[in-house]
């Protein structure tokens, strides 16, 4: 009985940590988008477009990660 409760608490803790972690990661990916666009404004070169695209793909993946954390966990 006691171990069952402990397991439940552990799962809830994992869920809260997971959701908080993914939300922090989402903020971090927003920072990356901002960082790439700022850098691209300062230094313009051939690959800037690709890098901006990658930063947005990363942001979308981070949104998906938050969604997964909310639904699966």
């Amino acid at each position: 009985m006691m171990f069952g409760n402990l397991n439940n608490y552990l799962l809830i803790a994992v869920k809260i940590c997971g959701i908080l972690g993914t939300l922090i990661y989402l903020i971090f990916s927003l920072v990356i988008v901002k960082q790439v666009s700022t850098m691209s404004k300062n230094v313009k070169d051939k690959f800037n477009g690709v890098l901006i695209a990658f930063s947005y793909i990363h942001l979308m993946a981070a949104v998906l990660l938050v969604f997964l954390a909310l639904t699966i966990l």
Partner: protein
């Protein structure tokens, strides 16, 4: 912006339009100057060679490359980034991080985690791996050293909130030294170029750039050109 020398005639802060400067700017586009620019480009190509890859560490007379602080009349002669070999450490770490999840099944506690939790953990792991590699690539890609026909510039981003921009006029350069130290630097021929200046920033360092001796030669050619311009009164 030039101000009047004759303070009896105008107020000290009155701006006098400088017709000479306009004429000089118009002169920049004369055929003689075009030939001189072409000759200079050939000289630089002769020293460094042509850029073969857009991600090359040395870009000679780049057509696409530009930077925010560039003047309209300024021409970019050479762009240098740290040698590609300096990326090797983070590439190796990234490879290890990529193969990391496949080793997790051998860890007993993690192997017993619910499948959904494992899936989301692996997804997050790869996201972090990507972010790590991406950040490292960005800091290499945007860490540029630029030699223009007027200035030497160092643009360095440590993070979003930290952009370092250092520049010095070619005429302010006093001394240039290079240092290639260690086995890796000797084998791959890369190192630091230290440019000592008479300006407010005492030294600009090109860190881990390939072929430091070629960069020094380019700087010497540019300094000679600048001296000629000063003598001929073509300084912008």
């Amino acid at each position: 912006m030039t101000r009047s020398n004759d303070l009896d005639l105008v107020a000290p802060d009155d701006v006098i339009e400088n017709k000479m400067e306009e004429t000089r700017n118009e002169k920049l586009e004369t055929p003689t100057d075009t030939v001189k620019t072409a000759n200079l480009k050939e000289k630089i190509y002769g020293i460094v060679g042509h850029t073969k890859h857009p991600l090359s560490s040395l870009l000679v007379n780049p057509h696409v490359f530009n930077f925010e602080e560039k003047d309209d009349a300024e021409k970019i002669i050479l762009v240098a980034r740290p040698h590609w070999i300096t990326n090797l450490s983070w590439i190796l770490i990234t490879v290890l991080l990529i193969i990391g999840p496949s080793l997790l099944k051998f860890v007993p506690l993690i192997g017993e985690m619910p499948a959904k939790l494992q899936m989301i953990s692996i997804f997050a792991w790869y996201m972090i791996t990507f972010a790590f590699a991406f950040e490292k690539f960005l800091s290499w890609y945007f860490d540029v050293y630029i030699i223009t026909d007027e200035r030497v510039i160092d643009i360095n981003f440590n993070n979003l909130l930290d952009k370092k921009f250092s520049e010095t006029k070619l005429s302010m350069i006093q001394d240039i030294t290079s240092r290639v130290s260690g086995m890796g630097q000797t084998i791959f021929n890369y190192g630091n170029v230290y440019i000592q200046t008479a300006a407010e920033i005492p030294e600009i360092t090109f860190e881990m750039v390939p072929n430091p001796e070629k960069i020094i030669k380019v700087l010497q050619v540019m300094r000679e050109e600048e001296e000629k311009e000063i003598l001929e009164g073509r300084v912008r």
